[in-house]
């Protein structure tokens, strides 16, 4: 039986002004258009019904119907959650790890975690392989891993373990206090997500050094979750629209990210006087070592170990292909825009 118009209440974990909210809107718009208006999504910003970190519980209980979030926000329930976003890097990029979700067994492992291990009444889809998250905002250019030792730094999720393992003093601060705290020296550095979100946040007002490239969050994506009872009760075509809508939003999100992030990076450089550097190789190497230590500990857990093994096997094969085959994009860029890249 064809259902009448149904409106899903979807809340995100983002403030209304964040570009992530625009990306959630792209998903909502696609679902509505593809369903011929039978399925509408009423998209609300963080805090409208529940707080940003509470959306998963709220969807499981049916307090909201759906949510647009990331898994790092609920990894306190099980550390393995972070692997579906903020996880280790074995050579595959975010797009290739998203491919692991769809074709490498990631989807089943995610379902096992959410439904079997945690017993949550939730189904989830993924979208947007996020570009590598920058190492962040600093008072001066970072040239070595040693220079970062003892630095008071703010980040979230498993990334706190990594940075702490590198000898940084990782500090937890409420989101709204990051910029004032950096200005006042309570923290000396922080990372957020991308040039657009960071600049809307006001990072350039308090810091003029932006280090790009890092392994702390190099393969994150959005998690779109729907209450399972509600999902199971939908007609199969509407179920398909919710699921494949995430795949459609993927392309739209990526396009928006590339366009907007790159524009805002230029704006940061040209209008705000921010000095942009690439994180040196030695720092990235130290991050990998730190990941080793963190993984040695966490893979003691059976399920965590299983997911890591699966990602590792996937990366070994897929990244081998990708890296061996990939054109040298940097060479081409320097060919046409000589002297622009500073690394």
């Amino acid at each position: 039986s064809a259902q009448d118009t149904m409106t899903l209440k979807m809340q995100s974990s983002w403030p209304a002004s964040d570009i992530f909210q625009d990306m959630a809107k792209q998903y909502a718009d696609r679902v509505e258009a593809m369903s011929g208006g039978r399925l509408k999504i009423d998209l609300l910003p963080a805090g409208a019904v529940v707080q940003a970190f509470q959306v998963q519980d709220a969807v499981a209980d049916g307090v909201i119907d759906a949510a647009h979030t990331v898994t790092a926000y609920w990894y306190g329930k099980n550390k393995a959650a972070s692997l579906f976003g903020t996880g280790p890097v074995f050579g595959a990029d975010a797009g290739q790890i998203l491919a692991w979700i769809h074709f490498g067994g990631g989807k089943d492992l995610y379902r096992e975690l959410v439904q079997d291990i945690l017993g949550l009444n939730v189904v989830g889809f993924f979208a947007l392989p996020m570009p590598t998250q920058p190492l962040g905002w600093f008072k001066e250019e970072i040239t070595s891993a040693d220079q970062m030792k003892g630095l008071k730094y703010r980040t979230v999720g498993l990334a706190t373990d990594i940075m702490q393992g590198m000898g940084l003093s990782v500090t937890q601060l409420p989101g709204g206090e990051i910029v004032p705290a950096l200005e006042r020296g309570v923290i000396e550095a922080f990372e957020f997500n991308n040039p657009t979100s960071d600049s809307r946040f006001g990072a350039q007002d308090v810091s003029k050094v932006y280090m790009l490239g890092s392994y702390h969050q190099a393969a994150e994506f959005f998690e779109i979750i729907v209450n399972k009872d509600l999902y199971d009760g939908l007609d199969p075509d509407l179920q398909a629209i919710l699921e494949y809508g995430a795949e459609a939003a993927n392309t739209a999100n990526y396009g928006l990210a590339m366009d907007q992030y790159s524009k805002d990076l230029q704006k940061l450089i040209n209008e705000d006087g921010v000095n942009v550097y690439r994180t040196p190789q030695s720092v990235m190497a130290a991050q990998l070592e730190s990941w080793d230590t963190v993984l040695a500990d966490l893979t003691q857990d059976e399920f965590f170990g299983k997911v890591v093994d699966s990602q590792k096997a996937w990366s070994e094969r897929v990244a081998f292909y990708a890296l061996t085959n990939q054109a040298d994009y940097k060479l081409a860029y320097e060919h046409y825009f000589p002297g622009k890249l500073a690394f």
Partner: protein, 229 residues
Amino acid sequence: MEAYIRFADKVSAWFGKAFAWSILVMTFGVGYEVFVRYVLRDPTSWAFDISYMMYGALFMMGGAYTLSRDGHVRGDVVYRLWRPRTQATVELVLYFLFFFPGILALIFSGWKYASRSIGYLEVSVMSPANVPIFQFKLIIVAAGILLFIQGIAQVFRCILCIRRGYWPQAESDVEELETQLIKQHEREILHHGGEAIDIVLPAHHTAGEFTGREEAADRPRGGGTGENR
């Protein structure tokens, strides 16, 4: 009934006061964090989690204690003009209509929420220190049970007031400074004779005048939350 009221007041006060001491844990815990962060440049990874847990436990477990001392703020512009019997009747109805349904939800849904968290031994996502938070979620249930016990006592207070025509005397306890001072002052005035008539008379005789006191026998309550103003 009076025995139950005394019992509930005692239970609420015991838990409220016991958890009140978490303010000292908080003060010195955060103080320690400030010291190690700014002086030794070596922040803890747990102080932030500890501070909000202490704060949350403190105010949640203090809810029933505050209720027993009539410390929750009221909008009493109209309420305080009523006779005690009218106040008690309205309040009695509202306890069943407004208070118990929500508190029961707090207990039962709170248990559902907390037990799920206990099931996966949830830890905080705010730090790498793996600070457990499932026990903190259990506070919701505990606070709900305390409020339920105290709510019954408040219902009995209403019934006694309807029967007798005046509010039963509250147990003596630590008071806000202004309340202490005012009470002291009142006693002095009483010693000095009858000129203080407008202060000691029940407030409905001097409607719209003084309201800053805890309940005394034979006068209506209201406006006397006197806290943090």
